[in-house]
């Protein structure tokens, strides 16, 4: 799946992989790719400004932690982030239900071929 297809859903994907606990940038990218079975082609560099933006919106909070000689930023969901994720899931279910009903219409009962 191309990177362009992910645009518009990136926020939900990032919030979703952080639901189970705090992660740093590389682990977030790996989690998204593992969950998608490697089908999502993310431009990895795009997640860093997205994480910064989600933190500005109060959906994530972050702290520096040391990893050997390096420092890494560890992100976790805020309460507002959990509510936003729940809303994203509901909106996605409604969207797929509606589009699915159009793409795969149920056979009309009593119709003969």
């Amino acid at each position: 799946m191309r990177a362009d297809a992910v645009r518009g859903h990136l926020d939900g994907l990032l919030l979703s992989v952080l639901e189970s606990g705090p992660l740093h940038g590389y682990a977030i990218i790996t989690a998204v790719q593992e969950r998608s079975g490697g089908a999502l082609e993310l431009r990895k560099g795009t997640i860093y400004p997205a994480l910064n933006r989600l933190e500005r919106l109060g959906l994530l909070r972050s702290t520096w932690e040391s990893a050997g000689e390096r420092r890494r930023r560890r992100y976790e969901l805020t309460d507002a982030g959990r509510r936003s994720l729940a809303a994203e899931r509901t909106a996605w279910r409604e969207f797929t239900t509606v589009i699915g009903a159009v793409l795969n219409p149920a056979p009309i009962s009593g119709q003969t071929t």
Partner: protein, 229 residues
């Protein structure tokens, strides 16, 4: 995972990761701390990605090149980074304006109280009103680009509007300070006037500089670009 040894090739043969980050650093404008943080986070991500490859036996230079390729070219990544840095810069400019104007007003009020019934001239009230309005707009910007932005889309031209609001604030505060200083009667506490005037000049410089960077950021964000993700 063990950190890979950096490639130290012949002179001019730069590390692919450092070369990539240097290109991004050159392309991006914004508050130094926010920009440094973004670059440092990316460095960590690139190094981790390269380490995953070197752990599989890939030579470092090839692994670093692969990590850079997976991140997306600087031309692809810079627009989304710049958009965020531009908003951060706009918030910085708005914060400086929103905090400085009330502080200076409080100082001038203090000067006025030492003037034994002296009333500031109308020439001072007009720019003071402009500065107060600009400070209110700056406060609204801070709210609109913070948690409110979850519900309200941020207008694309907002950073540019904030930049001009900052410039207007800087000019209005300078004019207010000048009018107060010129028309103050001899009865006022002149060391206090000099102190407040110095504070006004310093505030003018800080707001004007922040507004200038904000304008540059807004210009970069508005520039035509490739896919940002």
């Amino acid at each position: 995972m063990k950190a890979p040894a950096r490639h130290t090739g012949p002179a001019g043969d730069t590390d692919p990761i450092e070369g990539y980050l240097a290109a991004l650093t050159t392309a991006l404008r914004g508050p130094a701390r926010a920009k440094a943080r973004m670059i440092e986070e990316m460095r960590d991500g690139l190094v981790e990605t390269a380490m995953a490859y070197t752990d599989e036996g890939m030579p470092y230079r090839q692994a670093a090149g692969e990590a850079v390729r997976e991140f997306g070219s600087p031309e692809e990544i810079a627009p989304s980074c710049q958009r965020e840095l531009t908003i951060v810069q706009a918030r910085h400019t708005a914060r400086v304006a929103a905090l400085t104007v009330p502080l200076l007003f409080a100082c001038w009020y203090l000067v006025r109280t030492t003037g034994q019934g002296w009333q500031p001239p109308g020439a001072a009230l007009l720019p003071a009103g402009v500065a107060a309005t600009a400070a209110l707009l700056a406060s609204a910007t801070l709210a609109a680009t913070g948690t409110l932005a979850r519900r309200l889309p941020t207008p694309r031209r907002l950073p540019l509007a904030v930049a001009w609001t900052g410039t207007t604030t800087a000019v209005a505060m300078a004019l207010t300070a000048l009018a107060f200083a010129v028309t103050s009667p001899p009865a006022v506490d002149w060391p206090l006037v000099a102190l407040v005037a110095a504070l006004a000049v310093a505030s003018h410089a800080v707001i004007a500089a922040s507004a200038r960077v904000c304008r540059e950021c807004a210009r970069l964000s508005a520039a035509p670009s490739g896919a940002g993700g």
